[in-house]
Amino acid sequence: MPDGANEVLASAGDEESFFFSSDGEDLVGIVTRPLLGHSPADASVALVPGGWLGLSSGRNRTLVRLARRLAGDGLQALRFEYRGVGDSTGSITRFELARPFVADLRAVLQLSGLSSPRPLFLVGFCFGARTALPLAGELPNVRGLVLVAAPVHDGGARARWERTLAQRATARRFGSLFLRPTLIRDAFRPERRRFLRTYIGAKLATLRRRLLSSRSRASEGEVVSPAFIEQLKTALELDIPVLFVFGTTDAAYREFAEALETPTLGALVKNGSLVDVIEIEGDVHGLGRVRVQEDVIDVIANWVGRRARSSSKPVPSGGPIARRR
């Protein structure tokens, strides 16, 4: 459906729930069938939940609403619950970013027929973004990747990175940031100010930590998960478009902004025409407002819909950072 058009939503009557097996556990999935007469590209979308609030329905059923919106736009949608979550079997007490449950996603895609030649979009939320990313380079039918509030670090590595990055940032380097022409120009653009605040705030935090810590050096691997970079690089080499979605108050967004300073991730994101970054006002990670939930649904449905309809022709990138308020 074109952006801004009236929404046509699927309902529970268009859905089928099922169990599937992964590593000896029985996991729950739900497929939402596309509404008849609305099929733009015979594509499917897998919604990969976060870990902490990982029900397949999402907070205030955001994933249900997204799945039914996508189905209304003619896309088959899938959602599921990881092992130990919701109606699935198994037990899990913590989610480690360095060990996402890729096997669960792989299993549900295979058993749902979504890993077939049918074009597939992967939409991952937080931990789910880290779960979806490795499969972009593994499955030949992935046509797009949406990473919502994606953590770029591996948890434990981040603590080390914060300390060491703070230690290596010199006052001269920090001061030179304010002399960059683009930075000064952007300060006069209202839509750029928020990003600059985030950016400069991160730098100030870095400087503050530097003053409190002893000297040492950090490697890029401590700033961003090497696996994250490698998997993103693979996806982009395969010409898979990637959309990053962050909330302005997300910790993951601050970390992402900081990580863009590293050479590899910075080059991948800033120079690649396949990467879009969309910033939504508020807390996207926790989906802590109904308005934010609706914005997230809109952004994802519109981006995936455009890509699905235009699979035969290139879709222009929205630019380095696009904003939605």
Binding site: S11, A12, G13, E15, E16, S17, F18, F19, F20, S21, G24, E25, D26, V28, G29, I30, G51, W52, L53, G54, L55, S56, S57, R59, N60, R61, V64, E81, Y82, G84, V85, G86, D87, T89, S91, I92, T93, R94, L111, S112, T249, G282, D283, G286, L287, G288, R289, V290, R291, V292, Q293
Partner: protein
């Protein structure tokens, strides 16, 4: 655990250890489809339990606990039906449609659905938080003698909604606005706009109005069956102070802490597992006693 390795997509799973059969899917409500999970024991069930979930964020925070409770009850011989209310989870509808009467109707639809599967066995109802009121209303509509067990019951409805609305204020503070506002201001907003956004969950004035005057003590007067109020942590004292005691009412408590509104719930984290085990054990024993010991 596996029913058959070559079965790909199936709505039913069979647990070889407990011999419980679980079926996920949709069934008819009176205004659209409701999502639910039915748990059937291997042999004929001695009763059928309908689990009435809490609302708003607590639906999520108690989710895994209710799944594990259902599996345990079914392993002990009870048929169990969990479900999502209209406007919640995977069911049809919108949150604005929810009122106590409509939630009761959803519980009754779940009971009807389960009885078509499990047969005509006596019913019991389990509710959590506001779901306790739904359980009582449903039990009163079906059979006043149906046992009802309520986990972490809402004894003081006004205090409950005050805490919910404080969550709304907390959200404003988190966003850097509205620090001077009071719960009364939010109530005024609710009346004026018909809905407020409590940390990502819409609270409608219809839902609020349908619950606010319903005291659990008065609701329990509509029942003739046995009732268990099960508190977590130090909630037992307040239940006893509320004066809801009668010969049919039991009050029990288990050690531990409730999952906070902002907590997880989709899965169990360390510490919650012990509390959940205690709840499952206490509730399972009580329901078994009602149908097996009392009727013997």
């Amino acid at each position: 655990m596996e029913e058959a390795a070559d079965v790909v997509r199936r709505a039913t799973r069979f647990d070889a250890q407990t011999r419980v059969r679980e079926t996920v899917g949709f069934f008819d409500g009176d205004d659209g489809l409701l999502y639910g999970c039915t748990y059937l024991p291997a042999d004929d069930s001695y009763c059928a339990v309908v689990v009435c979930s809490p609302l708003l964020a607590e639906l999520q925070t108690s989710y895994r606990r209710e799944v594990l409770l259902s599996r345990s009850l079914a392993a002990g011989g009870a048929a169990v039906q969990r479900f999502h209310y209209r406007g919640a989870g995977n069911s049809d509808g919108s949150p604005e449609q929810q009122t106590l009467d409509r939630l009761r109707d959803d519980a009754l639809a779940a009971a009807t659905h389960m009885q078509t599967i499990a047969g005509d066995v006596p019913l019991a109802f389990v509710g959590t938080r506001l779901g306790g009121h739904v359980a009582v209303a449903a039990a009163a509509a079906v059979s006043r003698t149906s046992p009802v067990a309520i986990m972490s019951p809402v004894i003081d409805m006004r205090a409950y909604f005050r805490s919910v609305l404080r969550g709304y204020l907390f959200g404003l503070v988190k966003e850097g606005q509205g620090t001077a506002r009071t719960v009364q201001d939010v109530l005024d907003d609710l009346k004026r706009h018909g809905i407020v956004d409590v940390l990502g969950y819409p609270l409608s004035s219809q839902l609020y109005d349908s619950f606010i005057e319903r005291s659990l003590e008065e609701e329990l007067q509509t029942l003739d069956g046995r009732v268990l109020l099960l508190s977590v942590g130090d909630g037992e004292a307040s239940m006893r102070r509320s004066g809801t005691m009668s010969g049919r009412l039991e009050i029990r408590s288990v050690a531990g802490e409730e999952v906070w509104w902002f907590g997880g719930g989709a899965t169990l984290r360390q510490g919650e597992a012990t509390t959940t085990e205690a709840i499952v054990s206490s509730l399972g024993t009580w329901i078994h006693e009602r149908f097996v010991r009392d009727m013997a």
